[in-house]
């Protein structure tokens, strides 16, 4: 067991440090792939062992707890150093606000801080752990080739890939540590590492834009860090323990909820909820694997993970309701902003934010079924989103743009990647795939709160808008005129993509098994009941049921029929253009540049005047801040 954990958490740290110094690319790549395999295996191993609580051990006689404390402090100092070297006074203040209280606290409280069971392994942490270990390592593999191309494109010499992989691999260790830890101080330590990794990776390209975005990310996450520190200190004084499980079991109420609310606030920043969304959007300047790994599948999930973990602690309180509304609000607003975007990565970023909002809403609804929905959503979202990000990265390297307008008719240029992208989009958008299934669960569980339903209903309608048109334009083409080219991708790109695509479909197909094995026990352990029956391709509750297999079956039939009739059709038709032909459309025979034959372009509607991010963002942020204040406010009630 210990070995499993060791490989899972510490091996990445070790390998990362080695890779930092390995100059030989081949050796490095082999090392990465081997580590990836080991991490996946260890994760699966832990999953089968599922040992529950694990006491903190010691390394060479020094208790781990102490090590972490010291490391924590060092990390704080490092961030402070970065802040100072960046010459941003507010960053310095925020770092100081973390380091100094932490220091004082640790010095004063000292050994009492220790949590007996430093690690806690249950289904929720394992869900996250598996996601991190499997998707994360797939993204490593993807990055090998991707980063080589990326540096070529961007003309980065000398290579900074060593540093890149150092952070990327180290991050997985930290993430695994985070989800398995049971002590708030440990969580905080790993939390800060993820913040730092994010900062380093966003700034990887060292362009002005990248550095600014990195600073913004550090700033907002440090704010969350401050909230975290405050939560630790207050929690200690109020509950007398930093053991998360114990805190949850306490089910504090009233003002005693304060540390939990502060933790939620920290989680909001990590999950980039409005009004903290700006760092995640800025983070999109980072190379795509970073976006896929940190900023959609794993790191941002740390926030919602924390909330889901704490959810049982504040169930049936007003705080819970407010959290739900806050999450739903983010869900709507982020979807709304996504409509105004044509930059694929920004769309994905907003979509991530909105899905995280939905998970938070699910956590806030705080019934067994909704928590289950939240966990399911984490799983499905992670896979599909990672797939989408990686696809966008691949596309970007081919066509040199990440604007979806430039992806019109992509199918004719990169059929394989396009199909994978479409799979990713469809699994994000439509039943019978998991994301929508979870959404269905959320709506049904939310339906006793009309305001929540209203928000979620609007949000999901908005979601349809921005995904559907993306799917549509990827496939645009005129069979008789646009010949489909052949596409070959190197295995290090195509294998992770294909695995993710297959995974995203299969996991939806076997959603009941996933549910029964992974989700249900977790929920039951906290809530003693679950209220959902999952069997034979059907999720049923007392208030409704979702039948998956008929939908899968029907879609399969439709696709087969579509293929058959496509074969039997004349595909040489041209689109209707009012009698003009698309080929030689020379509207208006005017003399100035006009005799040129111009392609008809039709753009999606982005409603710049209505959904303008710039105009709305102020208001939205204000409302979100009010909502957060209200969360604090209702605590008193």
């Amino acid at each position: 067991m210990q070995a499993g954990l060791f490989i899972n958490i510490l091996l990445p740290f070790a390998i990362a440090s080695i890779i930092y110094f390995v100059k030989n690319v081949k050796v490095r790549n082999i090392l990465i792939i081997v580590t990836a395999g080991l991490v996946i295996m260890s994760s699966v191993y832990i999953w089968f062992e599922k040992p529950g609580r694990i006491p903190a051990g010691s390394i060479i006689g020094v208790p781990l707890d102490k090590i972490i404390e010291v490391m924590d402090f060092l990390l704080g100092l490092y961030i402070l150093y970065i802040s100072i070297s960046l010459k941003k006074w507010y960053l310095v203040m925020l770092s100081l606000a973390q380091v100094i209280p932490m220091l004082i606290f640790e010095v004063i409280i000292g050994p009492n801080l220790e949590v007996k069971d430093a690690l806690y392994i249950d289904n929720l942490s394992m869900v996250l752990n598996l996601i991190v270990s499997i998707i994360g390592t797939l993204i490593w593999v993807f990055s090998i080739r991707y980063m080589a191309e990326d540096e070529e494109h961007k003309k980065i010499y000398p290579s900074r890939q060593n540093r890149f992989f150092f952070v990327l691999i180290l991050f997985i260790g930290a993430m695994n540590g985070l989800v398995l830890s049971n002590s708030l101080t440990w969580v905080y330590f790993f939390w800060e590492i993820t913040t730092l990794s994010s900062f380093l990776l966003i700034g990887h390209d060292k362009t002005k834009d990248a550095i600014n975005s990195a600073i913004r990310a550090l700033l907002l996450n440090s704010f969350g860090g401050v909230a975290f520190v405050a939560a630790i200190i207050i929690a200690y004084y109020e509950y007398g323990t930093l053991d998360i499980q114990k805190i949850v079991a306490l089910r504090p109420s009233g003002l005693l909820l304060e540390p939990i609310v502060l933790l939620c606030l920290a989680a909001f920043t990590k999950s980039a909820q409005i009004p903290f969304q700006s760092w995640l959007l800025g983070a999109m300047v980072a190379p795509t694997p970073v976006s896929a790994l940190l900023h959609s599948s794993t790191m941002v999930k740390a926030g919602v993970y924390l909330i889901l973990r704490l959810a049982p602690a504040f169930r049936d309180t007003w705080v819970s309701d407010m959290v739900a509304i806050f999450g739903a609000f983010t869900f709507v607003v982020a979807s709304l902003f996504a409509i105004g975007q044509s930059n694929a990565k920004r769309i994905l970023a907003y979509s991530t934010i909105s899905n995280l909002g939905l998970i938070i809403a699910a956590a806030g609804i705080n019934t067994p079924a909704s928590i289950a929905a939240g966990i399911l959503l984490i799983i499905f979202h992670a896979i599909s989103k990672a797939l989408l990000f990686l696809c966008v990265g691949t596309i970007e390297h081919h066509i040199g743009s990440r604007d979806i307008e430039n992806m019109r008719g992509l199918f004719t240029k990169m059929p394989y990647t396009t199909v994978l992208t479409v799979i990713g989009l469809v699994t994000m958008l439509l039943p019978p795939f998991g994301v929508l299934l979870s959404k269905w669960l959320v709506i049904e569980t939310a339906s006793s709160n009309p305001l929540l339903v209203l928000l979620i209903a609007i949000g999901s309608a908005l979601t349809v808008m921005y995904y559907t048109r993306w799917i549509g334009i990827l496939l645009t083409g005129t069979a008789s005129q646009d010949k489909v080219e052949k596409e070959t991708e190197p295995p290090s790109i195509s294998v992770p993509l294909t695995l993710l695509a297959i995974g995203s479909v299969l996991i939806s197909l076997f959603v009941t098994n996933v549910f029964n094995v992974m989700v249900a026990p977790e929920v039951i352990s906290y809530y003693k009941r679950i209220g959902i029956k999952a069997s034979e391709g059907m999720l049923s509750m007392s208030i409704g049921a979702f039948n998956l297999f008929p939908v899968f079956l029907a879609m399969g039939v439709a696709m087969v029929l579509g293929l058959i009739f496509f074969r039997k059709s004349n595909v040489s038709a041209t689109p209707y253009m009012c009698g003009e032909t698309i080929k030689d459309y020379k509207y208006a025979k005017i003399n100035n540049e006009l005799q040129t034959v111009e392609e008809i372009v039709v753009r999606n509607y982005y409603f710049e005047d209505l959904v303008s991010e710039r105009k709305l963002v102020k208001w939205v942020n204000a409302i979100a801040i009010i909502l957060i204040l209200m969360i604090f406010g209702v605590m008193i009630l």
Partner: protein, 146 residues
């Protein structure tokens, strides 16, 4: 019967400007092929009274466009450009001689094309190869009827 004030290329724009400023509505232009010259009428209207300007230009001279004064003149000027091949300086929207005409239309049709009776489509089809004869026949007819 058409009273018109004669103008020249030099004072065309000034005259038109004068009409514009005194509140005349631009009606249209009319071009007539006089053989070696073109005669262009500019018609203006105020309170339903028509005022005309007459401009006589040599073929192959460029005429200043009045479209900067009366935007709506682009239509009739483009039409003249199509039909007579007169080129205009400073045409705001220039269709380059393809305003009304298609790709395969005859060029400057109103300036030189002589329309002749095409034989009835059916008869032509019917009597393909006998065109000479039929034309002779029609000649005969003509003489008959005379």
């Amino acid at each position: 019967m058409v009273e018109a004030k004669e103008i020249t290329i030099e004072n065309l724009l000034d005259e038109v400007k004068y009409y514009h400023d005194s509140g005349y509505r631009f009606v249209t232009t009319t071009c007539i092929d006089m053989g070696d010259k073109f005669q262009i009428y500019y018609h203006f209207d105020k309170d339903m009274k028509l005022e005309n300007l007459k401009l006589i230009v040599d073929k192959n001279t460029r005429v200043p466009s009045i479209s900067s004064i009366y935007f709506c003149s682009i239509l009739s000027e483009n039409e003249m450009q199509d039909m007579f091949g007169i080129e205009f300086d400073g045409l705001v929207v220039d269709y380059g001689g393809k305003f009304l005409l298609g790709e395969d239309s005859p060029l400057t049709p109103q300036a030189h094309i002589q329309v002749i009776k095409k034989p009835s489509a059916e008869t032509a089809e019917d009597k393909k190869g006998e065109t000479d004869k039929s034309s002779k026949e029609s000649d005969n007819k003509k003489s008959d009827s005379l």
